[in-house]
């Protein structure tokens, strides 16, 4: 057991990619649509603001984790607020990861049903996705990290695909005048893009696994955050100048529509190829949630953890059986986002404040 712990470590380099893969997922495809609902042509500003908000949270996490360098999120809660309250909080944390994971899977299935396999039943797709996810999530974090690093090369390919779309007609008028939607609407847009950036909270679970020197971690996660913010902003910007607000309202996945416009002598529908490749980043987000949810059960033994992953995968499958209707999903999305705000923003901040006030850190005895 001891040996397993020491070998199951990740480097900061791997942490960078773990975060990127956790955050970038299914949400990107529909992000321009979601952001422009309130922020209109200023959607790209919203994303930058969301990035700033994430950065603030990362600093909060950093301060908190520095005090408890070998503990995970769910262990810190117990340490700070005591065993009983901590367990209660952990239930919320567990539910959050399961529900967000479930939501990500549902959206994944929806995209596949809409674009690739219109007639295949959703549960079949769900079964396949979750099989792959469970297969990776039961392994050690270092193996998950290996795969995520590998999968990031796909994101670069996708970025390259988007470059191809530069040559479709563009209209800068759509984003002008800058700031015309008003601060309130831009902030509302930030709210939407913040949801797309979720996944960085996995840091609270990755942190204890980072190899020895934890000094540069804040720098690493900040660079990861910068990368993702720029990545999202870039995609939103390029979509905003390609389509008018009216068009965007009618598009469910504007990024795919953007690529649909490209056509070559050899390949006609770049969007389908893009979506096929994009499945991997979508699945990696689910894997992170599955990992975090199973870790949040605080299981000591490796074997128990594996069983938990399989069990949680089964629960995720059940969640995806929810009728695939837009109204239900929107409602589900809304509740999950409230829960996420609590788990991702509120609880860690409270924990930090409490641990500072009560002068608690890892060495102090838990009640």
């Amino acid at each position: 057991m001891e040996k397993e712990m020491t070998t199951n470590q990740i480097t900061k380099f791997q942490l960078f990619f773990l975060l990127i893969q956790s955050q970038i997922g299914v949400a990107l495809l529909s992000l321009p649509h979601a952001v422009q609902e309130s922020a209109k042509g200023d959607g790209w500003i919203s994303t930058i603001l969301a990035g700033v908000a994430v950065q603030v949270m990362l600093v909060v996490y950093w301060q908190l984790l520095k005090r408890f360098p070998t503990l995970m999120y769910t262990e810190i809660t117990k340490k700070v607020v005591g065993s009983f309250l901590g367990k209660l909080l952990n239930v919320f944390i567990y539910m959050n990861f399961m529900l967000v994971g479930g939501l990500a899977t549902i959206l994944f299935i929806k995209v596949i049903n809409l674009w690739l396999l219109p007639l295949t039943p959703g549960w079949m797709i769900s079964l396949l996705i979750l099989t792959a996810c469970i297969y990776l999530a039961i392994s050690d974090l270092k193996i998950i990290a290996r795969f995520f690093v590998l999968a990031t090369s796909l994101i670069l390919i996708l970025w390259f695909t988007s470059v191809l779309s530069w040559f479709t007609p563009k209209e800068f008028q759509y984003v002008l005048p800058i700031g015309s939607s008003g601060i309130k609407n831009i902030l509302m847009g930030s709210n939407n893009s913040l949801l797309a950036m979720l996944g960085f909270e996995a840091l609270l679970f990755f942190f204890p696994f980072i190899i020895e020197n934890k000094k540069g971690v804040l720098k690493t996660v900040s660079i990861a955050n910068l990368f993702i913010t720029l990545f999202y902003t870039y995609f939103i910007f390029i979509t905003l100048i390609s389509f008018s607000t009216d068009q965007l309202t009618q598009m469910r996945e504007p990024i795919l529509n953007l690529l649909r416009g490209i056509s070559y002598k050899m390949i006609d529908r770049v969007d389908l190829i893009f979506l096929s490749v994009w499945m991997v980043p979508m699945a990696t987000s689910i894997i992170t949630y599955l990992f975090a949810a199973s870790k949040s059960l605080n299981l000591e033994k490796k074997n128990h953890y594996r069983k938990a992953v399989v069990l949680n995968g089964g629960i995720l499958f059940l969640i995806t059986l929810i009728p695939n209707e837009d109204t239900i999903i929107t409602l589900f999305n809304q509740y999950v986002s409230y829960l996420s705000y609590v788990v991702v923003f509120l609880i860690p901040s409270l924990l930090l404040v409490l641990s500072i006030l009560m002068k608690k850190h890892e060495m102090s005895e838990s009640r």
Partner: protein, 489 residues
């Protein structure tokens, strides 16, 4: 387990000793006995007929004994190795190893002297790992020849050999070879542990041993590299890896190994580095083609024909027009025909194999299309895939890739692109999970090591390769100084 319990002490009585030995060998007819008169004593020589060299026995044992004037056997006999023993089981073991035994009258000790010499195959270029520009010798069945091929290339006192005997029945000699100052200690200990823990009656070949020591027996990927090329084995020794030689098998195992090693060939280093790198990239490409090309074709034809522009789609559709089967059946038929052809021709003498090639390639190939069983396009796709799968310099990997093409095809038939990505994801996750003797199998891509890319995907010029590959965790990394020092003057 059969004869190890026959432990008997030798006695003073020579007749009894001989009888004991004959009983030990169950009165076999090839146990030869020759009585000689030495200066003062009577002595008897026994040996197993097929295992000794007659001339050697004559010149180094029999003649000196007959001409001798004193008694000390160890000084009379000219053999390279002379041993003394009192145990009948030890004598038996030596006889099986090509020794002859000399019993003396009134003496409870037996002398064994090496007169062995089994004629082996001469060293020739291995058939299944041909290379154009590298050396043309290959490992053979005989243990000592193989060791010699390695020693010849690395003249270092640090090259260490350790012997193991595996198989209660076959008593197969297995040796691990490594560089004492370079190989990782933990790795060596682990290899020794795995080898010495094997309990088996018969071990015939390297393939058997491979299955006994690999980490993940259910994986489709080979996790030890078996090579017949000494130059290849030596290059791994110099990386700090361990090679395992099995007596009687011309394939030498190398552990630990990574995925990309299977797509490298010694020729890469004898070409210019750009050429070598180009071929490596082509080979990696061949792996991807071999596992996914038929699947992509099936997915496009059955699910996503909109991906193709109308021109190409039209030509594919016309070739599919009269074919009554779904693309998957077409692909499966062609793959099976191909495998059958390969299996049929592989063991036949080459003139007949050529006939099979003509019948298979020309007759079946064209007739199948004319009969509208398989479309033209599918023949192109399967042909391309087959060629790609044979590109891998180590055959096992190519076969694995071809095998993995089937699940991808099935998934593509059922779920189109989604299915392909699903299976590819599983394959790559599996590759990330695999390890060989504690080394990540898919290194240097997973875990990503920037430094290692220089000699895996591509091959940089030799003078750039200042450090060894680290996947075997060698004791020190530096492998050269300023390789082009003349340039700096």
């Amino acid at each position: 387990m059969s004869f190890s319990n026959k432990t008997g002490q030798l006695s003073n009585n020579i007749e009894r000793n001989i009888k004991m030995l004959e009983e030990h060998f169950c009165h076999t007819d090839d146990l030869m006995k020759k009585e000689l008169a030495m200066a003062k004593q009577k002595c008897v020589i026994l040996y197993l007929d097929p295992l000794v060299k007659k001339e050697l026995l004559q010149t180094s044992i029999i003649e000196p004994i007959l001409e001798s004037e004193f008694d000390d056997i160890e000084q009379i006999v000219h053999a390279a190795e002379v041993k003394k023993t009192t145990l009948i089981s030890e004598v038996g073991k030596q006889l099986l190893g090509g020794f002859c035994v000399i019993f003396l009258e009134e003496c409870s000790e037996a002398y064994t002297a090496s007169v062995g010499g089994i004629e082996g195959r001469s060293i020739e270029e291995p058939n299944n790992e041909r290379n154009i520009k590298s050396s043309h010798d290959g490992f053979v069945e005989e243990f000592s020849s193989n060791l010699q091929l390695l020693r010849k290339r690395i003249k270092s006192p640090y090259m260490k050999v350790k012997y193991f005997t595996i198989g209660n029945l076959t008593q197969t000699k297995v040796g691990i070879v490594y560089l004492e100052n370079l190989a990782n200690k933990e790795l060596v200990v682990e290899v020794e542990r795995r080898l010495s823990s094997i309990e088996i009656d018969q071990l015939y070949s390297t393939g058997d041993l491979e299955e006994l020591i690999e980490d993940h027996p259910f994986s489709p990927f080979p996790q030890n590299l078996a090579t017949e090329r000494p130059d290849r084995a030596v290059s791994y020794l110099a990386d700090g890896k361990v090679t395992i030689i099995v007596d009687g098998s011309p394939r030498v195992l190398v552990v630990p190994i990574t995925f990309f090693a299977f797509y490298q060939a010694p020729d890469d280093y004898n070409s210019r580095w750009l050429v070598g790198s180009f071929f490596r990239v082509i080979r990696i490409f061949s792996f991807i083609v071999a596992i996914s090309l038929p699947a992509i074709y099936i997915a496009i034809v059955t699910f996503h024909s909109e991906v193709l522009p109308i021109g190409i789609l039209y030509s594919i559709r016309t070739s599919l027009e009269y074919v009554p089967f779904p693309p998957f059946v077409e692909a499966l038929t062609m793959q099976i025909i191909l495998e059958l052809l390969k299996e049929a021709s592989i063991r036949l003498p080459s003139p007949i194999a050529q006939t099979i090639g003509i019948v298979g390639g020309l007759v079946i190939g064209t007739a199948v299309v004319d009969a509208h069983i398989v479309s033209n396009m599918m023949i192109v796709v399967i042909g391309f895939t087959a060629i790609a799968s044979f590109v891998a310099p180590i055959n096992e990997m190519g076969t694995s890739a071809r095998l993995l093409g089937f699940p991808t095809m099935i998934a593509a038939t059922l779920f189109g692109f989604f299915g392909i990505v699903f299976v590819l994801m599983l394959i790559f996750i599996h590759l990330c999970k695999l390890d060989s003797f504690g080394t990540p199998y898919f290194s240097p891509l997973a875990p990503f090591k920037k430094e290692e890319l220089k000699d895996s995907f591509i091959r940089l010029p030799l003078w750039k390769l200042n450090t060894r590959p680290t996947d075997a965790k060698p004791a020190y990394a530096n492998q050269q100084g300023r390789a082009r020092a003349w340039k700096r003057k």
